[in-house]
């Protein structure tokens, strides 16, 4: 076995062991920079691994211990997992850099180490959620990601964040409870926990028709459980509070990455365990499609009514996750590939927007009402440009990443029989709705601050790390928007090999 196949498990252990050690390392600055370095190392490791696995054009099961499936834990990786891991690690690193100034203001100096523990654990859980080949490992790491994500909301220690955290925590617990119950039912009717064996057993059950009721039930529960955690439409009410009140780094990480981890796990379960035919047979994908559809429309409508910049971005995340669920709901490999691409592009765009808003708001004493942000782009032009790029990408202007994602969804819908009209219509409507709140926001931040009631905007302090983060994230958005074909090829090949 080539050495490169050890890289995924090593990157997971690196982050987890760093997390354990960081809880005792004194010094806020030291903890912060160690975390940045570890994330950078994990990014490099994942990119190396990606280049190897794309060249090898295969997927491997890696035993976590001496015993292969179905006896021991296992992870399995192919091109898609490598790509997701690289993007997750890179965006984590950039969000951490981009929110540096605000992080140091919001977090108690003695507790910075603990905040970095949470960031490391979030990355570890994201990596495992995309690599795992074992349903129960997925559950354990869902819990790790739940606790760490809630802690990331509450590290900014204020009343509203505490209340937002507890609401987020209860919704997440509901979700993981449903997921655990569905895994137990799956174990009861198949007797396995490892995905390859689960797939065989499920196929056999579908053939013989035994326990189909239980299978349908647990498939629904699993979808609902992961849907609650990934803010699928009727369960999205916790998201704006949690993501809108947290500190910039946390908002970027939660909105851009954490919710995606659950969507990736749902895709893995659908493709690797149940197969899309089973999902279609029970019409679960139709339900997901409808919920994604509603999420796209209603998330945007609520974002339009919002006057707080970060809450507006949070509602926009609900809409963007609606795209992901719509793609999964198409129930075809093309739809899922489009959903994966949307996950990647949103992972770059949303942190870019959050970091830019944090930077803009730093000139007006962190007042994040849209009204207060008026004209702030002239103080920090780069953040203004970053916000513009992110917003235009969300609206779906050609050459920006969001456009490529929408093209993918439109092409994917052609391969379905019935959903093509609905998909194209909702794509058009949601683009208009996105424009309705993003374009005014861009105009707002670039117009002249003439209102007498507003305090004068101060000069922005120099913040080289935020500058670097904005530039790199914007490059990511533009790169995915211009050359999306090779990325799509990796995703499609990865799904075939999954």
């Amino acid at each position: 076995m080539p050495f490169a196949w050890n890289l995924p498990y090593m990157s997971v252990f690196l982050t987890m062991i760093t997390a354990i050690l960081l809880s005792v390392i004194p010094g806020a600055k030291r903890a912060y920079w160690i975390t940045v370095c570890v994330f950078a190392i994990v990014t490099v490791m994942s990119l190396c691994f990606l280049s190897f696995i794309v060249r090898a054009d295969a997927s491997y099961a890696f035993t976590m211990g001496k015993f292969p499936a179905p006896f021991g834990n296992e992870i399995k990786f192919g091109p898609l997992q490598g790509l997701l891991a690289s993007v997750f690690a890179a965006v984590m690193c950039l969000s951490l850099l981009g929110g540096r100034a605000e992080l140091f203001e919001d977090v108690d100096e003695k507790k910075m180490g603990l905040a970095c523990v949470m960031l490391n654990m979030v990355l570890a859980s994201l990596l495992i959620l995309s690599y795992t080949n074992d349903a129960f490992t997925a559950y354990v790491f869902i819990e790790i990601s739940t606790i760490a994500a809630c802690a990331l909301v509450m590290i900014k220690d204020s009343g509203p964040t505490l209340v937002a955290t507890i609401r987020y925590l209860f919704m997440s617990l509901l979700g993981s409870g449903l997921f655990l119950f569905s895994i137990i039912l799956l174990y009861a009717i198949t007797g396995h926990l490892l995905m390859p064996q689960l797939k065989e057993s499920v196929a056999k059950l579908m053939e013989t028709g035994n326990y189909t009721k239980v299978l349908a039930l647990l498939l629904g529960m699993m979808t609902a459980g992961l849907g609650v955690k990934a803010a699928m439409f009727p369960f999205h009410r916790w998201l704006p509070d949690a993501h809108g009140t947290a500190t910039t780094t946390s908002s970027a990480v939660l909105s851009g990455l954490v919710v995606k981890g659950y969507a990736v796990l749902l895709i893995t379960m659908y493709v690797r365990v149940f197969t899309l035919d089973t999902v279609r047979a029970f019409h679960i994908n139709d339900a997901v499609f409808v919920l994604g559809f509603c999420g796209m429309i209603l998330g945007s409508v609520q974002a339009i009514r919002e006057t707080h910049a970060k809450r507006m971005l949070a509602y926009s995340s609900v809409a963007q996750l609606g795209y992901v669920f719509m793609g999964i709901g198409l129930g075809t490999p093309e739809g899922i590939a489009a959903a994966c691409f949307q996950i990647l592009i949103h992972a770059f765009t949303k942190p870019l927007l959050f970091v830019s808003v944090g930077r803009l708001a730093s000139t007006v004493h962190h007042d994040k009402q849209l009204r207060a942000l008026r004209g702030t782009a002239w103080q920090t032009p780069l953040a203004g440009i970053g916000f513009g790029i992110g917003a235009l990408s969300m609206v779906g202007i050609p050459l920006f990443g969001g456009f490529a994602a929408k093209v993918n969804f439109a092409t994917a819908s052609v391969f379905t029989d019935t959903k093509i009209v609905l998909t194209l219509a909702v794509l058009a409507i949601s683009s208009v709705l996105n424009a309705l709140y993003y374009i005014p926001a861009i105009i707002n931040i670039w117009s002249i601050r003439k209102d007498a009631a507003l305090p004068e905007a101060g000069k922005a302090k120099k913040d080289p790390t935020a500058t670097a983060a904005i530039i790199l994230l914007a490059c990511g958005v533009l790169f995915l928007g211009v050359c999306f074909t090779p990325v799509m090829n990796i995703i499609v090949r990865g799904l075939e090999l999954m």
């Binding site: 739940t146 606790i147 809630c150 802690a151 507890i166 925590l169 209860f170 617990l173 509901l174 655990l180």
Partner: protein, 124 residues
């Protein structure tokens, strides 16, 4: 019908417990009661899991002088999974109770309605 119910008595009991926990968690405005209902929900899943491992007429999977005869022992996997589940549930309860303690310190209430009122009054 009765036979079916008796055959799956543990599954049925655990399902009823699960839904009890679920509805209480959604409806109760008191945060502490929400945490308790979450624990009920978790216990229900553990009951379900533990009952899946039972095989009539066999003993716990700790090898004694009988050696490794597989027809003597029950399924060890659910026991291990329940252990994991319990640890997770303890951790989450500890976390949420600490949160409630801080919320009480900040707003002086653990009732979700009063909490939202108090937040509105503070203009947050």
């Amino acid at each position: 019908m009765l036979n079916l119910i008796i055959n799956n008595r543990f599954a049925i009991a655990s399902v009823i417990l699960f839904v009890t926990g679920f509805v209480n968690m959604m409806v109760h405005p008191n945060l502490i009661k929400k945490i308790v209902s979450f624990n009920i929900m978790d216990s229900a899943t553990f009951l379900m899991l533990a009952s899946r491992g039972m095989i009539a007429g066999r003993t716990a999977a700790i090898l004694t002088d009988g050696g490794a005869d597989t027809s003597l022992y029950v399924n060890p996997i659910p026991a291990g999974l329940v252990l994991t589940g319990i640890v997770v549930s303890v951790s989450v309860s500890a976390f949420s109770l600490a949160l409630v303690q801080r919320i009480y310190g900040t707003y002086g209430t653990v009732d979700l309605r009063e909490l939202l009122d108090a937040m509105k009054k503070k203009g947050e």
